[in-house]
């Protein structure tokens, strides 16, 4: 109790003694505000459960997600198979839990590729302005005008190495929103005193960009990323649904919806339950993003 309260006091002080204390304190305050936001809590729980399930799947007491058992095909949900079995007698609960792994992995990869790129491009354009700004923003217009899903389909279909190329396609069309927001934020602060002071001290251009301008864009990038994630989930599962995702035995939600589609009138659970997972995950991210937007920027 007393340790917790002194921790809380150390984190929420107005006069942090070190840089680490200041940063941890800012994170702590953000988290506390998020935890007071009902939609934010709902989002945290949904996304958190999915991430936990994906990470811990091999250690959970689940059946083998690819083990076929032709004697137990299309069993409805029961005590033994909580969510029933699919056309090849595989345990649906296990497949649904394992299905969280590829989806979340791709969301993470796309974000890791597109967020830093977008931030760097946007901050550079905002900080330095001039022709660089014009060229970079024109470029972002071009990539933003690409239809995301169709491009991902075309790339996955032609390059036929499945989801890896889709990651590139989704990331390629994903960075411009980050760049735009970062540019606007940095451009507004370009003449701010702390930037002028850093310039006057002779800070190099790269350092000015990376250490002074970029950190300012992180909160809004966090909001954007949370709101971007559901779109990625839907594109990935859409590709899986069209048969452009992982090769067959691997559990993937979109592909599972497609597998159960032909028999949906006889065995509703095969197709509907994996789809419910897609909905839950993207709803969780949307909740989180919507709440983060309120929390990070109460003005809007």
């Amino acid at each position: 109790m007393s340790i917790a309260s002194s921790c809380s006091r150390w984190l929420s002080t107005d006069t942090p003694a070190t840089r680490i204390q200041a940063r941890l304190g800012a994170t702590y305050r953000l988290l506390r505000r998020l935890l007071r936001h009902p939609i934010g809590v709902a989002g945290l729980i949904l996304v958190g459960l999915m991430v936990l399930a994906a990470l811990l799947a091999p250690w959970l007491p689940l059946a083998d997600p690819v083990a076929q058992s032709l004697g137990e095909r299309l069993l409805p949900p029961s005590a033994q198979h909580w969510l029933g079995t699919d056309t090849l007698g595989r345990d649906l609960l296990s497949r649904v839990v394992y299905g969280a792994r590829p989806t979340l992995a791709i969301v993470a990869m796309v974000l890791v590729a597109s967020v830093p790129a977008g931030l760097l491009i946007g901050a550079a354009a905002g900080l330095w302005g001039g022709w660089l700004d014009a060229v970079l923003m024109r470029l972002s217009d071009v990539f933003m005008a690409f239809p995301r899903l169709i491009l991902a389909i075309a790339v996955a279909a032609t390059l036929s190495s499945g989801l890896w190329t889709a990651v590139i396609a989704i990331a390629l069309t994903g960075w411009p929103p980050y760049a735009r927001v970062a540019r606007a934020e940095v451009a507004a602060l370009r003449r701010a005193e702390f930037i002028q002071a850093a310039r006057a001290l002779g800070v190099s251009r790269t350092r000015l960009l990376l250490r002074h301008a970029l950190p300012l864009c992180l909160p809004s990038a966090l909001v954007r990323a949370a709101l971007d994630a559901p779109g990625i989930v839907l594109i990935v599962s859409g590709l899986g649904f069209l048969g452009l995702g992982l090769p067959p035995p691997a559990p993937e939600w979109g592909a599972m919806v497609a597998e159960g589609r032909a028999i949906v009138f006889e065995a509703w659970w095969v197709s509907t339950l994996p789809g419910l997972m897609i909905l839950t995950l993207s709803l969780g991210f949307n909740f989180l993003g919507d709440a983060l937007r309120d929390v990070v920027d109460p003005e809007k």
Partner: protein
């Protein structure tokens, strides 16, 4: 949407202000030119991507046409006809020329010119997406106004949950669930497809839009049948559109409500709903229309997945059918087409916004 961030004033390096009058027209012209330039660059980008995708195929496109028992001469001849013997820049030049003149090549599967196929398939997508956006707007705007009126209270929270659910919906799954409930269990709507076989040859084709064609022919049974096929996929797509429209309408209206003029209206004694419906909504019309246009572009894309579920013979089904037949030229041509429409709708959205709100033109 794309106009907002880039039009933020960047303090002191703005160009010296030109004299009034003449400067205004020049600025407007410059804005128009830069929008069109962006469109051209985007189109070029689309062309480069589709061209590149067509060239890095893991299979030999010549072999797909001639088959693996063709003689060397046949092979060489087809290779020359496909211009694969020329250097890449020349190939690209010819590709751009073909695409711009509407020659998309021949489908590897049907042997038809792809342009003809696409023209036959597109109206179905257009009809579906248009009915969907109409439904989404008719429901989404009132709901958005309601959310703004009760901001922070129960109707607002419900509207928020509803529109977030719309954002999060995997449309292919929603389609399956919708068919399961409204077609198989309740029997309220017709199943997959656009029209029952019985009516398929009785309706003369005029516009390729079945609702209009059947009404023109006075075939009201066929009209009802077409409507019954259309209403489920259109409502589900409309639900997604409604989510976007509600959310954005709400936030634009809340911004209007913070302006001084609404305070004046309130002091004059106008009711809150009169302020919202008669004044704030009109002032927010520009950005709302822009969002509707963007949502429409998004629906054209979302129709791809919806069509596969509802066996809807539109562009989306054309793309997926070609995909499974490994008919890559058809996939790429359709991609290019959807991309171009997407881009045109985006530009239309910016033009509408600029026409309705002169402030957004000041670059």
């Amino acid at each position: 949407m794309s106009g907002t961030a880039s039009s933020l004033p960047v303090s002191d390096d703005a160009a010296p202000v030109p004299p009034r009058g003449a400067g205004k027209a020049r600025r407007r012209l410059r804005w128009l030119a830069s929008t069109l330039l962006t469109a051209c660059i985007t189109l070029l980008g689309l062309l480069i991507v589709t061209f590149a995708l067509g060239r890095v195929l893991p299979t030999d496109p010549v072999l797909r046409v001639v088959g693996d028992r063709a003689s060397q001469e046949q092979y060489d001849q087809v290779r020359r006809e496909m211009r694969l013997d020329q250097p890449l820049p020349q190939q690209f030049g010819a590709f751009v020329g073909d695409m711009l003149s509407g020659d998309f090549g021949r489908s590897l599967v049907t042997g038809n010119p792809i342009a003809e196929d696409v023209v036959r398939y597109f109206p179905a997508t257009f009809e579906l997406a248009t009915v969907a956006i109409v439904l989404g707007v008719l429901l989404g705007i009132p709901l958005g106004v309601l959310c703004a009126q009760y901001a922070g209270r129960l109707p607002d929270h419900l509207g928020r949950l509803f529109s977030l659910a719309g954002h999060s919906m995997p449309i292919f799954w929603l389609g399956i669930v919708g068919l399961l409930i409204f077609y198989a269990n309740l029997g309220w709507v017709a199943g997959p497809g656009r029209l029952d076989v019985a009516y398929r040859y009785s309706v003369p084709t005029v516009t390729h839009l079945l609702l209009i064609d059947t009404a023109l022919a006075g075939e009201w049974d066929a009209f009802r049948n077409a409507f019954s096929h259309l209403i489920l996929p259109a409502s589900l797509l409309g639900l997604v559109a409604m989510g976007f429209v509600t959310r954005m309408t709400r936030s634009f209206l809340l911004w209007q409500l913070r302006q001084d003029y609404t305070l004046v209206l309130r002091l004059k004694g106008l009711s809150e709903s009169a302020i919202l419906w008669r004044h704030a909504l009109r002032n927010a019309a520009g950005p709302i229309l822009a969002i509707i246009a963007l949502t429409y572009a998004y629906l054209l894309e979302g129709a791809v997945l919806t069509e596969t579920v509802f066996a809807w013979p539109g562009l989306g089904m054309y793309i997926t059918d070609s995909l499974f037949a490994a008919d890559i030229p058809a996939v790429l041509a359709a991609t290019l087409l959807v991309g171009t429409i997407f881009m045109l709708v985006n530009i239309a959205s910016e033009l509408i916004q600029a026409a309705l709100d002169p402030r957004s033109r000041s670059v």
